[in-house]
Structures are given as C-alpha cells and as structure tokens.
C-alpha cells in the first residue's frame, strides 16, 4: 500500500520513501501497481501526475506488445507454407532503346520471398507402456511445430484483440 508523503511516495509495506524519479526502480514498481490494481494499491487518491505517468507507461507497454503481436501474426502459417514472391528489379546495366531513343534499365526477376513448403500435418511416434512385456504402439498426433505455431498465433491474436483502439491508432 502506498501513499503520497510530501514529494515522495511512501511504501507502507517496506517503509520505503520513493522519489518521483522515473529512473528509480521502485517508482516504476509503483506505476506497475497502479496499472495492475488501480486505486486499491493507494491510500487516498492517486495524484493526477502519478496516474498520468501510469497511464503513459501502460500505453507504451500495450503499444510494444501490439507491435510484437502483429509482427508474429505477419509470419507465415507453418501448416500452409509460404508461396514464392518475385519482382522485377534493375540489374544496374542499361541499354539503348532505338525506338524511344533513351537508355533503359536492364531488368531481371528477383526472388524477394522464398517459398517454404508446409510442414507435415501429423507426426507418428512410438508410445511405450509401463508394462515391460507390452509391445510399443504407434500414435499419430498433430505436428508439434503446428501446435506451437497455432498457440503462438492465438496468443498474438488475443493481444491484438485486447489492445485499445487509441493504442492501435498510434502505430
């Protein structure tokens, strides 16, 4: 529990006098507590400037999380693979076009995104019983690479969904 003590924040739990200095780690912990618990962590009203600092920190955290999540979602889906993408780029050479009477770039096709095959949807593994005499059996499961990809994409999507619109607008 915190309260304002003149120009410092007093932490009743640890008998700490915490300066209003963003470089102080305990000050950052106070902001984290305000973000997580709101007014419940404060004895009395949270001062406006402290609340504003907590709001700004939360905004920046959400913005950073949103950027990471959108970058994760932009990665290809391993179960689908990725198609090759090419584009025409100048080689650096130029030739004279007798029809237009101008020098023109010599172009060539460049692969800008390489193709990646989809991973196998399932894998088969041997399952051994605790019974030493029993024969091992085969078990077919979803490819763990796909499982991990799906879980990470779901987590990233949840982050995106939970991000407030003002944060998304700031990107």
């Amino acid at each position: 529990m915190f309260n304002i003590n003149e120009n410092t924040i007093y932490c009743q739990t640890h008998n700490h006098y915490i300066p209003l200095d963003p470089a102080n780690r305990h000050y950052q912990e106070v902001l984290d507590a305000i973000i997580a618990e709101g007014a419940a962590c404060f004895d009395g009203d949270i001062p406006e400037d402290l609340q504003a600092a907590a709001d700004e920190k939360q905004f920046n955290q959400q913005l950073a999380d949103y950027r990471v999540a959108t970058a994760r979602l932009a990665q290809y889906i391993v179960a689908d693979g990725r198609a090759e993408v090419t584009e025409m780029q100048p080689t650096g050479e130029q030739v004279f076009n007798e029809e237009t009477m101008e020098m023109e770039d010599v172009m060539h096709e460049v692969i800008t995104v390489t193709a990646i095959e989809p991973v196998e949807p399932t894998v088969t593994r041997m399952v051994y019983s605790d019974d030493m005499d029993a024969e091992p059996t085969e078990e077919t499961i979803e490819n763990p690479v796909i499982t991990t990809d799906v879980a990470e994409r779901a987590a990233a999507q949840a982050t995106v969904d939970a991000t407030p619109e003002p944060v998304k607008d700031a990107v």
Binding site: E6, N7, N15, H16, I18, A23
Partner: protein, 352 residues
Amino acid sequence: MTVRIEKPAINVREELADLRKPTGLAGEAMLRAETPQEQFNLIGAGRRNLIINGDFQVSQRGDYSSSTSVASGAYSVDRWKSNDPFNLQRFTGQVIDGIRTNYVKVSYNGTASMGFMQLIEDKDYEVLRGQTITISAYVRTNQALFGFRLYDGSQKYGPRFVADGNWHRATWTFTWSPSSPSYFNILFDTYQGSFPTIGSGDYMDIAMVQVELGKVATPFEHRSYGEELALCQRYYQHNFPTGYYPANGQGITDTEDGVSGWAAFSSSTARSPYVYFPVTMRASPTVTPYSAGSSDSDGKWARYNFSAWVDIVSQSIDPTSSFFAVRENGGSGMTAGYTYLMRGMWSADAEL
C-alpha cells in the same frame, strides 16, 4: 666523373637468421596490430572489467556467510540480483586457479529455476554498442543446464557450463546489439527459451566475473576494496558502520548517542540537515529509514526532547541523487529555533 662507393660486405645468412626471432602467437598478433589502440586492447591495458563487484568483495546488505534465501528480484551481494529465487552463500579468501579471491554459491531453494545476474546501466554500456564483447567467469557446478545468457534487447544464449564439480573458466564472445534497452544484463541461469527444471542439490559456484571489449578473455582485473565499494555505492549505500548491516534498533555505540542538528521551525515541525551521500547515486534513490536506538520504534528516527528519546511519528524523506533530508511533521513539544539531538540510520537504493 665516376664516383665509386664501397659498402662493407653483408652476410645474408646471418641477416636472415636475425629475422627468425622467437615470436609466439601473442607476439605475432602484436606485430599484426594496425593501431596502438589495437595493441592496447591486445595486452589488456587500462580498465577492462565492466562488471562491478565481479569478485564479490563488497556485500553491504549482509555478509552471506551462511546460505541465505534470496527472493526473485532482490539484490544480495552488491550489484548482483536474483532473476529467480535461490540460496546464496559467500566464501571469502578462497584460492581458485592459483588466485586468492571470493566466490558465491548460488543454489536451489525449492523453485524450479534460478538466475543470478548483473545489470549494466546505459551510461556504462554506451561504448559497447555493436562491439564484440567477451564475458568470462570461473564456474563450478553439478548441473549441465546452467550457462550464460544475456539480454541486450533480445535474448542471447551462451555456452553451458562444464558440470563436473570442478572449477572451469567459462568464456563467451558475442557481438552486442547496436540498439538496446536502457540496461543490459548478464545472467547465469538455465533459460534457453524456456526454463528446464532443476532440482535439490543443484548449484553454481561463481567467481571472478568479467565483461570486456574484444575477443579475448584477459585475466581478471582485480580492483582495490575501496574502489570497488565506491563503484557499488553509486547503486546502494547505507550509514551503518563496517561490520553492521541494515536493521532496526541495533543500538550501535556512537550511532545510538545521536548528533545535533534537528532544527525545529515550529512546535510540531522540524527538519534534519542534508545527509550527503559519499558517492553520487545513479538516480534519486529509495531511502529506507531504520531506528538507531534499541528503544526506538522500527523504521523511525528519534529526537531527544531534553528528557527522553521520542520517535519521529510522522516523518517524510525527500531524496535526490546527492543527498536527502528528513522532516518531522505533527510532532509536539518543540520550540521553534531550537535544535535537538537526533538519531537514525538509513539505506539508499538506486539499483537498476
């Protein structure tokens, strides 16, 4: 006109033999160096170690002579922080690889993972951006999952330590990110994307930790105790005498006697003089007051009211990176303009 010049004869075989000097690999490297700076770096001249208290000389929070539980996020020996909980014990005056030094034993305390780390502040690591850096330490462990890790804006996983129960000098050379967060940390732990589980009896003994520019782990740079203490005090300091650690009501001679200076400016308010830090701190620190006298209430400074010591019931502290002062609010029985004896201890924490 023709001029005839005569030169003494040269024995070509002897001249060639002179060129075959007994030059080792290091000598060759010196000859190949293109700048004096490169030679300076090769011989490890000048200040090298970016780690503070890499040999665990300084321990202002406690002596850790017995195994002590350290909570996640807490500091123990100066500058060293817990990333995950562990037990820590400090051994002084030990001989490792022929060098007399100290080491810490970081051991399992019931949590599935543990991490021991030091954070380096941005003012010190600015010179490291985009540079090749080498970390070295003597490590003795029984668990092959332990190794180096660092965070410089992204995770980097270093080599695992040799887990044969003997001391080994572990080294890791890496290129540090050109763009990094406001601090960077060096860790000794098991994390490599996830935390594998460790168990009872697992430990790391760690000594002579060094982080330096370049591709070579040079010998550990020993600094004097006074110098190392001053470096640590930028991050944490207190006013307890040598041999004492921050705690309430220890009743230490001299500190319990009190000093003059509590100046009343009304019957209920007074202020202490500025308490200057011997070393300017990294940022405005968190100040924790402790009682000096055994009869004082925990966490309170006290004032002598000409007949007895009374607690400063409502005190406030306003620290800066250079000093702090304590103010008494809501006191009673003081006379404006009078000064009173006061006593109180403190610690100041500006750690990362």
